[in-house]
Amino acid sequence: MPPRASKRKTAPPNSSSVTSSDGRSVFSKTKTKGLGKIDRLFNSYANSSSGEIDPDGIVALCSDLGVDHTDVRILMLAWKLKAAKQGFFTQDEWRTGMKALRVDSLSKLKKVLPELEIEVGKPLNYEDFYAYAFRYCLTEEKQKSLDIESICELLNLVLGAQFRPQVDSLIEYLKVQSDYKVINLDQWKNFLRFVQEISFPDLENYDSSLAWPLILDNFVEWMREKHS
């Protein structure tokens, strides 16, 4: 999806524009004032010419947060922001995200990260987050699959903590097999199902006559051969 630069409104100055005679101006003042802090935070990382936070900005943000820029929490942040393009945050995305997190400063952002993790961990959110992670990595328009390398990294990032042994085996397999050079969203989604449902490493309850994608059938066969 193309960056939403064209639709972006110009950042309004802090509070001066909106005043009215009734008391509402106080609210709007607070709001815009709140917005102001968010915007200021945004601007501190944004690239001044493009008006967006670009990869460099994200790296800076990460170091300020004390988080590695390859950390899964940044991915979670992107998810919360509903960021469209990997490595970039638009002002709209930033605003929406920060408001949803009820955060307007760096320190608050830092504090809210653990909460964010918990939120992502909830089953409904997690599935959404998982699929999002895949789509986030698609760089080209009409791209539908990711190369094996990227998939392996993504698996590690997203599932590694919770499903270490499965992820390790799966990554090993993906690297040695030659049937597939890319993985599509359907297969990606089924990886999650697999690690969640199939007992490991015995794989007892895996039934290859069911609707599992062929790549997982092959993976299971490979595992079984290895362990026999």
Binding site: L210, P213, L214
Partner: protein, 732 residues
């Protein structure tokens, strides 16, 4: 009545008692008793039936029925005791005769007595629920004679001995037997069963157990079956002659069990004469016997069927995996046809054309034909051979028969699409080389294939025929438009529609100038009438007839391939040409060129060219000359026809790959069709439905189907259901 005065009638009882003479009953009884004696003593003629009847009637009327009845019982019993004694003393064979005679007497006597005592039978007996006279007479006979200690066992053993004698070949008095048995039957079915039938069956079982054991040790299977059949028929006849008809099923069961069921396995597997040997030697009679006998016992037929099936599968497997026979495809298929004919005949003649046996035959063939992955190819080659030359002089009906048999084999193939591919290739070669002997036969086979597999299967094949016809018309049009070409070389072009004919790579070949110009003229003529089409010359498939004059003046007409023509025409301008020069001039691909030169320089009788050195292989430094010493008995010499041959390994792989590739879209189309109509369907059912739909062409691999489904998901024709991951949804 109302007017009349009512007068009461009074009937007064007798004022005096009527006393029946007490001696009256006794006197009357004595008369009857005497009569009974006379009857038993064969003196009944002096008796008056009317008088006796009246006396009995009176007795019953005057309430002396008890006396009458009990008197009857006593009298009759006394007589029977006498009779019993006389039977007991009878010696040897006379025993049965005496019994029979006495029985007849008693029977007659009983009739008469019953007639006399009819009134009692009809009134007193129903009232008192006593046994009626006739039945009483039978019961008494039974009790005093048949069940008498001295008679009972003797009777039984006599009867059984007679049966045994008859079984061992002696003749017995069947009439006497019949009467005695009938007597037992008359006495009641329980008497017949207890006093005769049950022991009879036991003894028979024992007899046949022993006999069958004896036979099985010394007879071979065919003989044994014959003997068993004889015994069985014997027993049936025995029953018909002198036993109760209900005994037939029981005694035949005994024979079946002892002679057949108990030895079934041993018979079937008997060495050198068992079922397998019978099948191998086409012993229709013995097989028929086995079928009819085994039909009678449980699992008999299924045993025959199982043994036949496993034997057939074994022989079939050997047939198809035999390396030697694989070298000659025509022989291979012929052997299959012969084997099928053989078993067809066996089932028809010996197994009464049983459907289950036919099914077993079909499933066995289906099993082993598909063990050899080249079967489709071979069957096509067989047909090719027949359509080229094998059908000369064969009548039209016979042609149909052969083609029908081939269709039978075709039906067994699982990979019918492989057959289609080869058939197309072979048909193309036949059509283009003008080598079909019989157009009707070709058409007939196409029709059969269409009936079997549907229009799609044969539409391309039919397209090929159409192209041939159209080309004829095109050629006529061409020469009509260009009358000036009538003197030059005659060109015959077959224009092939790309989709219908097997795909061929276009090859390079430089035609001789005369031909090249002619071909160009044709091309412009054709494209003039058909715009928007592209023509490419398939020089690897053409033929040519050229007139040649050799060194000593011999003239011959040579029938050659296009390649060969190109090579030969070069020698019009050169006496000697090296391989390299030929290659340069004609630009024919190397392997084809080598084969082409080989066929003209190294084959005896066809060596229109001479090669130096005279080795069998073509080397790049070889030199070629026209063979001035060429001779042939015939004016027309055919060199190197393009005969359909068994494919080489790399060609085979290529064909198989193409077949696999063709299957992918077919699978996808089937999946889409099914999902479109069902909208939502679970994985296993999709696999099942797809397999079923494609069954008539090939056996779809579930893994391949899965791959195609995933491909369709990626291209967003389908999606997985969000709730139930086993289910797919169609995306419109």
């Amino acid at each position: 009545m109302s007017n009349q005065k009512k007068r009461s009638f009074q009937i007064e009882a007798f004022k005096h008692r009527v006393v029946v003479d007490p001696k009256y009953a006794e006197r009357t009884w004595k008369i009857i008793e005497h009569a009974i004696h006379e009857i038993y003593n064969h003196n009944a003629s002096g008796l008056s039936f009317e008088e006796l009847y009246r006396n009995a009637y009176n007795m019953v009327l005057h309430k002396f029925g008890d006396k009458l009845y009990s008197g009857l019982v006593t009298t009759m019993s006394a007589h029977l005791k006498e009779i019993s004694k006389s039977i007991e003393v009878a010696q040897g064979a006379l025993f049965l005769e005496e019994l029979n005679r006495k029985w007849n007497d008693h029977h007659k006597a009983l009739q008469m007595i019953r007639d006399i005592l009819m009134y009692m039978d009809r009134t007193y007996i129903p009232n008192t629920r006593k046994t009626p006279v006739h039945e009483l007479g039978l019961n008494l006979w039974r009790d005093y004679i048949i069940h008498s200690g001295k008679i009972q066992s003797r009777l039984l053993s006599t009867l059984l001995e007679l049966v045994h004698k008859e079984r061992t070949g002696e003749v017995i008095d069947r009439g006497l037997m019949r009467n005695i048995i009938k007597m037992l039957m008359d006495l009641g079915s329980s008497v017949y069963q207890e006093d005769f039938e049950k022991p009879f069956l036991e003894v028979s079982a024992e007899f046949y157990k022993v006999e069958s054991q004896k036979f099985i040790e010394c007879c071979d299977c065919g003989d044994y079956l014959k003997k068993a059949e004889i015994r069985l028929n014997e027993e049936i006849e025995r029953v018909a002659h002198y036993l109760d008809v209900k005994s037939e099923a029981k005694i035949t069961n005994v024979v079946e069990k002892e002679m057949i069921a108990n030895h079934m396995t041993r018979l079937v597997h008997m060495e050198n004469s068992g079922l397998v040997n019978m099948l191998l030697d086409d012993k229709y009679e013995d097989l028929g016997k086995m079928y009819n006998l085994f039909k009678r016992v449980p699992n008999g037929l299924s045993m025959i069927r199982d043994v036949m099936t496993s034997h057939l599968r074994e022989t079939g497997k050997q047939l198809v995996t035999d390396v030697e026979s694989s070298k000659d495809p025509v022989e291979f298929v012929q052997r299959l046809l012969d084997e099928r004919d053989k078993y067809d005949k066996i089932i028809c003649q010996a197994f009464s054309n049983s459907k289950t046996f036919q099914n077993a035959l079909n499933s066995s063939f289906e099993y082993f034909i598909n063990l050899n992955s080249r079967s489709p190819e071979f069957i096509s080659l067989f047909v090719d051979d027949k359509l080229r030359k094998g059908l000369k002089g064969v009548t039209e009906e016979d042609v149909e028969i052969i083609l029908d048999k081939v269709m039978m084999l075709f039906r067994y193939l699982r990979e019918k699409d492989v057959f289609e591919k080869y058939y197309k290739q072979h048909l193309a070669k036949r059509l283009l080389s003008g080598k079909t002997v019989c157009d009707d036969a070709e058409r007939s086979l196409i029709v059969k294939l269409k009936t079997e597999c549907g229009y799609q299967f044969t539409s391309k094949l039919e397209g090929m025929f159409t192209d041939m016809k159209t080309s004829e018309d095109t050629m006529q049009g061409f020469y009509a438009n260009h009358p000036e070409l009538a003197d030059g070389p005659t060109l015959v072009v077959q224009v092939l529609t790309t989709g219908s004919w097997p795909t061929q790579a276009t090859v390079t070949c430089n035609l001789p100038t005369e031909m090249a110009t002619l071909c160009e003229k044709f091309r412009s003529h054709y494209l003039g009438t058909h715009t928007g089409r592209r023509l490419s010359w398939q020089t690897n498939m053409g033929t040519a007839d050229i007139k040649a004059t050799f060194g000593k003046g011999q003239k011959h007409e040579l029938n050659v391939s296009t390649y060969q023509m190109c090579v030969l025409m070069l020698f019009n301008n050169y006496d000697m040409l090296s391989y390299k020069e030929i290659e340069q001039a004609t630009e024919i691909p190397t392997s084809d060129l080598k084969r082409c030169l080989q066929s003209m320089a190294c084959v005896k009788g066809k060596n229109v060219l001479r090669k130096e050195p005279m080795s069998k292989d073509i080397g790049t430094d070889d030199a070629f000359f026209v063979n001035d010493k060429f001779t042939s008995k015939f004016y027309k010499v055919k060199i190197g026809t393009v005969v359909a041959q068994k494919e080489s390994e790399p060609e085979k792989l290529e064909t198989r790959q193409r077949v696999e590739e063709d299957r992918k879209p077919q699978i996808e189309a089937a999946v889409v069709r099914i999902m479109k109509s069902r909208r939502v369907l679970d994985h296993n059912n999709v696999i099942a439905e797809v397999t079923k739909q494609l069954q008539s062409r090939f056996l779809a691999n579930p893994t391949e189907i899965k791959k195609r489904i995933e491909s369709l998901i990626e291209r967003e024709f389908l999606e997985r259901d969000s709730a139930d991951r086993k289910v797919y949804r169609y995306l419109a």
